[in-house]
């Protein structure tokens, strides 16, 4: 085994790239679940975002428009879920699973003509001064804009939930929807907005996969990333900071095990491939084992104004 072939600077830099799709999807789902809705269709919205983002970017040779298209597509796909669960009182788990399958099927259909194409390059943004720092500059400050955006989004969501009145209302709706309704808050509207936000975030995460990380379209390319995002939200006890820890941990171990495989580590390949899932869940379980489990009390419960 030759560990010297692993360059720590490039490793960290690729960890950030590898974690970004999951981080985007997970932070969106966190907002959805904080409002009391369990949307299991993250995988479906992600892959739809991946294919639509890719298609728009290739057709316009503009990755930026690709991301916008992906966010819209993700939100649009989550709209039926929102209407079904909020107005027609359908079961959230079953509807979410259905949404996932619709997304997978729809993406194969849309993606057929785009197979084998290459995504237009997405420029890196070298942050002035900071990117000139030795080691850290290359590691942290010379990425594409979506990496910075995902980190900023985590901070924004954290501040929104903790400090703003709208964030307080969102948490209140997820905590006790009957109480929120009695106080005159529009539970359905708030939840629908949260679901749309979650869809848009999942779409962005998917597009990052097809436009930057891979960067091309292949069928089923999300390969369970949506499910990992869902698991990270739960094991992170619904806290934005821990979601970031979970996403970076998963991204980090994924990249590290690939490097180890390439370096010819004396560990069975199957074990290495499974390691990101095992380690991420293990670490987050340990983190969440102490302290309160802040699951929103109304999570997954249908709301009807007359009950």
């Amino acid at each position: 085994m030759d560990l010297s072939s692993i360059n720590p600077v490039l490793l960290i830099a690729s960890v950030m790239v590898s974690a970004t799709p999951i981080l985007l999807a997970a932070i969106g789902e966190l907002v959805v679940e904080k409002s009391g809705v369990l949307n299991l269709g993250v995988e479906g919205m992600m892959i739809t975002g991946a294919v639509v983002g890719f298609a728009v970017a290739v057709s316009n040779t503009s990755p930026g428009m690709g991301f916008v298209g992906a966010a819209l597509a993700g939100a649009l796909l989550s709209l039926p879920f929102a209407l079904l669960t909020q107005y027609l009182m359908s079961n959230q788990v079953a509807t979410g699973l259905g949404l996932m399958m619709v997304g997978l099927g729809l993406s194969s259909l849309i993606g057929k003509p785009f197979e084998g194409m290459k995504a237009p390059p997405f420029p890196k943004v070298e942050i002035p001064l900071l990117s000139d720092l030795p080691i850290f500059g290359k590691m942290l400050f010379s990425h594409d804009i979506m990496v910075y955006f995902s980190v900023a989004l985590v901070v924004a969501v954290w501040a929104f939930l903790k400090y703003t009145r709208a964030g307080l209302i969102l948490r209140a709706v997820g905590e006790a929807h009957d109480s929120a309704h009695a106080l005159g808050y529009k539970v359905r509207h708030i939840r629908i907005l949260a679901i749309l936000f979650g869809g848009a975030c999942a779409g962005l995460g998917g597009a990052y996969l097809s436009l930057v990380r891979v960067p091309q379209w292949t069928e089923g390319m999300t390969a369970g990333a949506g499910w990992i995002a869902l698991a990270i939200v739960v094991f992170a006890s619904w806290r934005p900071g821990r979601v970031a820890v979970g996403a970076y941990l998963f991204g980090g171990v994924s990249v590290l095990q690939l490097n180890l495989q390439a370096a010819g580590a004396d560990v069975p390949v199957a074990l290495l491939s499974a390691s990101p899932y095992l380690i991420t869940i293990l670490v987050l379980v340990i983190i969440s084992a102490r302290g309160a489990h802040a699951a929103p009390a109304s999570l997954g419960r249908p709301f009807h104004a007359s009950r």
Binding site: R171, S179, L183
Partner: protein, 507 residues
């Protein structure tokens, strides 16, 4: 002080199949405490929801200080000066006191100012409260204080209180009443909804009585007797339960040093509970909700197991037996929560009858359910306890609370238990039905059964029980004979007034 604050004129609201309010008119004056009385289903909640903007009336008008008042949503009602303290608290367990208060305000000030205002108002009205505490850790009395302070911070002209005293100790009730009188003397009108007639007689200036959605009368409660008020509510006279002289027999249920850890994060541990109940005796257990009532019922019914010798039936250890085994021996129970605990909501009354009666009523033959016999048993319960239902095949969920309560209690009573443990047997049940249930419990004891009645309704406990004890943080007080017990003594047994101690901050 005699100007009309809120005038209601011909308010009508119909839901499919039922007219909740039918042409209701009355006036609430400035600075008065006005009671709204009525049985369950009389339309009190609907009326209040119309005033608070949660429900739109089909017809009729409201005026506030002479101007038309048509709140489209609670926000508009709050802006007009109407505030409401809800029966089932409209609080958020995981949020802090200050956050809960902020959610009920239109334009909450900055967090720091809000915390200061909460402290100021809570001191002015003698309702100590720490703005930083998480609401899930508060007692029922403290939670109600959060609701009241949330209302007071908005300077309401009209404060609506929906059954505010059902969760309070007598001392807490007294403090609440002083707060309300103080508010009224400052010019705030209060619309006070309650079942408890004695409270209304001591507190309220006027009372409006609703029956089946219609206004029956507006009267001065201090000039009417509680019985007259009750009969106006029910529309007929009813029998007060009679306590027959009873012979106490051998010790049936013997509990010695029952201790169990708390079942969950918000549960209460049981600590060293010991008592005996004799044949023909009713032991009444009071206490503020959340002090171990549910946990004690679970331990006695067999839902949670303890050491075999801790609980004995006629000197036979049963502490390690599950509910089915205990039922076979004659230890039956009726938990507090009707839907989901005492009855399966989406199953029919027949199926619900089988669920607890299968063994004792012989509803099984060779492991299969004997449906005709089960139907007979369910219909027996329905007939004997006057359960109003379209039929025995109706889902439990479809029954009103009071009717379902009659069914689940009747189902146990007809199985002729040797020991019966019930929690809140008449919770949410109208006066006539409550009297019938209490009479059934008394008859059961007269026939030689031993009963443990857990309740938060002190009047009920005084009416049925021979001895009284109070649960406080999972401990049982000394047991005292009911005869000669005063309300003050009971309050002290229940742990005194939570209001009188300064709210403590959890580390």
């Amino acid at each position: 002080m005699n100007d009309v604050l809120l005038g209601l004129e011909g308010l009508t609201k119909a839901y499919p199949g039922v007219v909740a309010n039918d042409d209701v008119s009355f006036d609430i004056r400035e600075g008065e405490i006005h009671a709204l009385l009525g049985e369950n289903g009389a339309g009190k909640s609907t009326l209040v929801k119309m005033i608070y903007g949660l429900v739109k009336p089909d017809s009729g008008t409201m005026t506030l200080r002479g101007a038309a008042f048509e709140p489209a949503e609670p926000r508009a009602a709050r802006a007009a000066g109407v505030a409401m303290v809800f029966q089932h608290f409209s609080l958020f367990d995981a949020l802090s006191v200050a956050e809960n208060v902020a959610l009920g305000m239109e334009n909450p000030p900055k967090p720091r100012d809000l915390a200061r205002q909460i402290r100021e108002v809570s001191e002015t009205y003698g309702l100590p409260l720490d703005p930083g505490r998480t609401v899930g850790t508060l007692s029922a009395g403290e939670r109600q204080r959060v609701e009241i302070i949330r209302c007071l911070l908005q300077d309401p002209k009209l404060l609506i209180m929906d059954e505010p005293t059902s969760v309070l100790t007598p001392q807490e009730v007294e403090i609440l009443f002083e707060t309300l009188r103080k508010l009224a003397s400052e010019g705030t009108a209060i619309l006070y909804i309650s079942h408890k007639l004695e409270e209304i007689r001591s507190l309220c200036d006027h009372a409006t009585i609703l029956r089946l959605g219609k206004k029956v009368a507006t009267c001065t409660p201090a000039e009417a007797s509680a019985r007259e008020l009750a009969e106006m509510m029910v529309g007929a006279s009813f029998e007060t339960p009679q306590k027959a002289a009873r012979q106490l027999g051998e010790v049936m249920l013997d509990v010695r040093g029952l201790s169990l850890p708390a079942p969950g994060a918000f549960g209460t541990p049981l600590r060293e509970i010991s008592f005996q109940v004799r044949a023909g005796e009713i032991l009444g257990l009071g206490g503020v909700a959340g002090n171990g009532q549910d946990e004690l019922l679970a331990a006695l019914s067999g839902e949670r197991l303890s050491g075999a010798d801790v609980i004995r039936l006629r000197d036979r250890p049963i502490g390690n037996m599950g509910p089915t085994e205990r039922r076979a021996l004659g230890v039956l129970s009726g938990p507090e929560e009707r839907l989901g605990h005492a009855a399966a909501p989406d199953m029919s009354l027949i199926e619900n009858a089988v669920l607890t009666g299968a063994g004792r009523m012989g509803l099984l033959s060779g492991g299969f359910i004997n449906w005709p016999k089960s139907k007979g048993f369910a219909e027996d319960v329905i007939r004997t306890f006057d359960v109003r239902t379209p039929g025995s095949g109706t889902a439990a969920r479809a029954l009103s609370g009071g009717n379902l309560q009659k069914f689940v209690i009747g189902r146990e009573v007809l199985q002729s238990p040797e020991v019966l443990i019930v929690n809140q047997p008449t919770w949410g049940v109208d006066a006539a039905a409550a009297a019938a249930i209490r009479q059934a419990l008394l008859n059961l004891a007269a026939n030689g059964a031993a009963l443990v009645v857990i309740s938060q309704d002190l009047d009920e406990l005084m009416e049925v029980s021979d001895r009284f004890g109070a649960l406080n943080e999972g401990r049982l007080s000394d047991l005292r004979p009911v005869d000669g017990l005063t309300v003050e003594e009971i309050g002290l047994m229940m742990g005194g007034a939570h209001d009188m101690e300064v709210a403590h901050v959890d580390a």
